[in-house]
Symmetry: C2
C-alpha cells in the first residue's frame, strides 16, 4: 500500500497571511486514491528546515510531496532544500529554460531559478500542465498556488493509487471515560482495525464518535458489531 507525506513550505501559512488549502485538499484526495498519508509538516522558507523535514518524510513514507517555494523570488528555496535532503547539487535544465523562453518569460537570473533543479530530477509531462512536474527521486515538488498544486498533483496521481479503505463510524451515547475500558478491550481483539475514539460536546445526541478502518471490509464489520455489542450507540441519518 503506498504511503505519502506532505511538506508545506510556507512562512505565509505560519504567519497567518494565507490559510493552507493544499493540506486539506490532499488529505481527501489521497484518501480517495487509497494512499496512506502518514505525516504533514509546515516549515519556514529555509533551506535547512526544508531539507531536514524532507529527510524525515522520506524515512516515514514511500512518496513525499512538497508544496510551495518554487517560484523565481528570493523566498523560493524548495529546490535547494530538496537537493540538500538528497545530497545532490543543482543544475540548470535546458528543457525548462526553453519552456520559459517559449512562454515569453524573461530568462533573467531570477527566472533561471525556476529551471535550476536538484541534479537528476525527472520531468513528468502531462497535457494538462504547461510546465512538467518535477520529481526528485521519491519527492514530488509542487507549486504552492492551490490551483496549480491540484493540477500538477493530478498529473502524477496514478503513482499514488492503492487499495480502497473500508471505514465505519459509530455514535456512542455514553461518555468516553465510561466506555474507555470496554473500547480498549475491543481494540485489542481487532489489531488489524484502526479504531479511533473522539469525544464531542454539543454536536448531537451522542458523546463519542468511534471510527473504524481497515483494508479488509469484513474486519471493519466485525469490529463495528463488537463495539455495538459493548456500548450504547445510536443511528444517525447520514
Amino acid at each position: 500500500m503506498p504511503s505519502a507525506a506532505l511538506v508545506i513550505v510556507g512562512n505565509e501559512i505560519l504567519t497567518g497571511k494565507f490559510s493552507d488549502e493544499n493540506g486539506p485538499w490532499l488529505i481527501k484526495r489521497l484518501r480517495a486514491l487509497g494512499c496512506d498519508l502518514v505525516r504533514i509538516a509546515v516549515v519556514r522558507d529555509r533551506v535547512d528546515e526544508i531539507a531536514a523535514e524532507v529527510r524525515t518524510c522520506l524515512a516515514a513514507a514511500d512518496r513525499v510531496i512538497t508544496s510551495g517555494g518554487v517560484g523565481p523570488t528570493h523566498d523560493d528555496v524548495t529546490f535547494e532544500g530538496v537537493a540538500a535532503a538528497l545530497g545532490v547539487g543543482l543544475e540548470e535544465r535546458t528543457e525548462l529554460t526553453t519552456l520559459i523562453e517559449r512562454y515569453g518569460i524573461p530568462l533573467d537570473a531570477a527566472n533561471r531559478r525556476m529551471a535550476t533543479l536538484p541534479a537528476g530530477a525527472a520531468l513528468e509531462s502531462d497535457p494538462a500542465v504547461s510546465f512538467p512536474v518535477v520529481r526528485c527521486d521519491r519527492v514530488y515538488v509542487l507549486p504552492g498556488v492551490p490551483k496549480l498544486f491540484r493540477l500538477k498533483f493530478e498529473a502524477v496521481s496514478a503513482q499514488f493509487a492503492g487499495d480502497a479503505v473500508a471505514t465505519a463510524r459509530l455514535f456512542v451515547t455514553e461518555s468516553e471515560p465510561a466506555i474507555a475500558v470496554r473500547l480498549t478491550a475491543v481494540a485489542a481483539r481487532f489489531p488489524r482495525v484502526d479504531i479511533g475514539s473522539y469525544p464531542r460536546f454539543g454536536e448531537g445526541p451522542f458523546q463519542v464518535v468511534i471510527t473504524l478502518e481497515s483494508r479488509d471490509a469484513a474486519d471493519v464489520a466485525a469490529a463495528s458489531e463488537a463495539v455495538r455489542a459493548e456500548m450504547a450507540t445510536i443511528t444517525l441519518d447520514p
Copy 2:
C-alpha cells in the same frame, strides 16, 4: 521574542475523518500575541513519531504545544510520546485522580491514563478550566477537542506574549517573473524585513501579493516604499 511550534497528534486528521481546526486557530492567536510560530506537524497516534516530532520542535522553538491524544482510550498516547521525548518516565498524579473522582468519573484503568503524566509535569490551574493545563518542561500538552484546546491555551496564553509585528501588503499588477529580479534587490536592501512574494491568479486586478513584516514598523514602511518605487502596484480597499 518567544517562538512556538505545534504538534498535532491526529490519525483522524491525516485520514480525513475530522478537519484540523486547532492549527488555523493557533496561527492567528499566536500572531495576535506577538509569538513566532516556526513549525507545525501533524503526526500519527504513535509514541515514537510523537516523541521524535516533539524533540524536533523543542530544538526549533522556545515553547511547544501538542494537540490531542490525552483522553482515556487506547489511541491516546501523547503523554507517553512527550515523556519519551524528554527522557522521563510516567507517574500517576494524585492531584488529578482526586479531580477525576470529584467529577464522578470512574477511576478505572483507562481513566487513570488521564492522570498518568510525564514525571515532573507542572499543573497550571486556571479558573476557566476544570482540569489544569499539563506543562512538561517547555511542552504544553493540550486536548484536541477544539473548544477545550482554546480554553486551555487561553489559560496559559500570557506565557506566549511578545512584541507586536508590523506588517504591510502590496498588490502588484506585473507578473512575478517580471518583478523577481527587482524584488530580490529590494529584499537584499532590507535584511531585517521578511518579504514574501505570492503569485495569485484570477483573484483581482493584481498578479502578485507582496507581504512585508518586521518587529520594526519603520523598516516595514521603508521597505514598502522601496517596493512601490520599483514596481507597479495598486491600492485595494481593505
